[in-house]
């Protein structure tokens, strides 16, 4: 069975994916994860998750390029420039 291993480097920090290990059951997985991801004191905690328990989600279609969902889809610079021109005020650095 494959287990995905997440490790926490310091208390309070987010767990990050560290790698995976192959083990016949939870107990062996713990022993192996301890030795591979903890023996150098590089982790304060580990999460071991059987890969089968992970629900994989991918493929996010954007057929119609709805760029307004994204921050970079809205060009603030251009809009600001237009607004300033309409209001007759210069950009801060030009004042």
């Amino acid at each position: 069975m494959i287990y995905e291993v997440f490790r926490q480097e310091r208390k309070g920090q987010a767990f990050q994916h560290a790698g995976s290990i192959t083990a016949p059951d939870d107990a062996f997985a713990e022993a192996y994860a301890r030795e591979q991801y903890g023996r150098r004191q590089e982790s304060v905690a580990l999460w071991l998750v059987p890969r089968a328990a992970l629900r994989h989600v991918s493929d996010f279609p954007d057929e119609l390029q709805k760029s307004y969902h994204r921050v970079d889809g809205y060009s603030l610079k251009a809009k600001l420039k237009e607004a300033r021109e309409r209001a007759g005020t210069a950009a801060p650095r030009d004042r």
Partner: protein
């Protein structure tokens, strides 16, 4: 040599030599994850040896390295059990299981020792040994009914008893059947005097680099 130094050297030599033997599986253990874990445990045992040598070195006015690598083969006090060159995985796991059981009993006694330095070091080692024990017990549980494993335990049992002395060996003999789920075949304890045939070759290899440039600072 003080009784305390002798005791420390016995345990230190056991840990060093077993760590050395177990590290021979690095790269050739049955599968990758076990290879990494087994090598790491072997390194841990050598770390315990270092701590024990350091304490003994203070008593004997020498250094841990000199104790570990500069003594003559006949001066090492390890049990023949840890010296055995076991080329079969079942034998190797059987030795780990038996050694951890014996070492647990030895550490329990040491933790209760009136000497605070001994007791303190034993407590530190014990906290790491917990995970060695878990590893050994998991394998023992899994292989409990495998004829090869049972034969390996039977063949090593007398040697394992020799790790402990007197009353402590009796504790091991009393405990092992419950842990294994069966009773190992009766065997006479192999005493801790003298070495097995393979020890000289092990010593040659273990001290080879250090002997290559005597007195060098590494």
């Amino acid at each position: 040599m003080s009784e305390r130094a002798q005791r420390l050297l016995e345990i230190a030599d056991d840990e060093l030599v077993l760590g050395w033997r177990d590290s021979e599986w690095t790269g050739i253990a049955p599968f990758l994850e076990e290879d990494v874990a087994f090598s790491s445990i072997a390194q841990n045992e050598i770390g315990h040896a270092r701590a024990l040598y350091e304490l003994a070195a203070r008593d004997l006015d020498t250094t841990a390295d000199e104790l570990a690598f500069d003594r003559a083969p006949e001066e090492y006090r390890c049990a023949p059990f840890v010296e055995l060159r076991l080329l079969d995985w079942a034998d190797t796991i059987a030795r780990r299981v038996l050694y951890e059981a014996a070492d647990t009993i030895r550490l329990e006694a040491l933790k209760a020792d009136p000497d605070p330095e001994l007791a303190g070091l034993a407590a530190k080692m014990d906290r790491e040994e917990v995970y060695h024990r878990l590893h050994a017990e998991m394998w023992a549980d899994r292989l409990r009914d495998e004829p090869r494993f049972r034969a390996a335990v039977d063949s090593l049992w007398g040697q394992a008893l020799g790790v402990l002395e007197g009353e402590l060996a009796t504790v091991l003999a009393d405990r092992m059947p419950a842990q294994l789920g069966w009773t190992p075949a009766q065997a006479a304890p192999a005493p801790r005097n003298g070495h097995s045939d393979g020890f000289r070759a092990l010593w040659d290899e273990m001290t080879m680099v250090r002997r290559s440039i005597p007195g060098a600072s590494w």
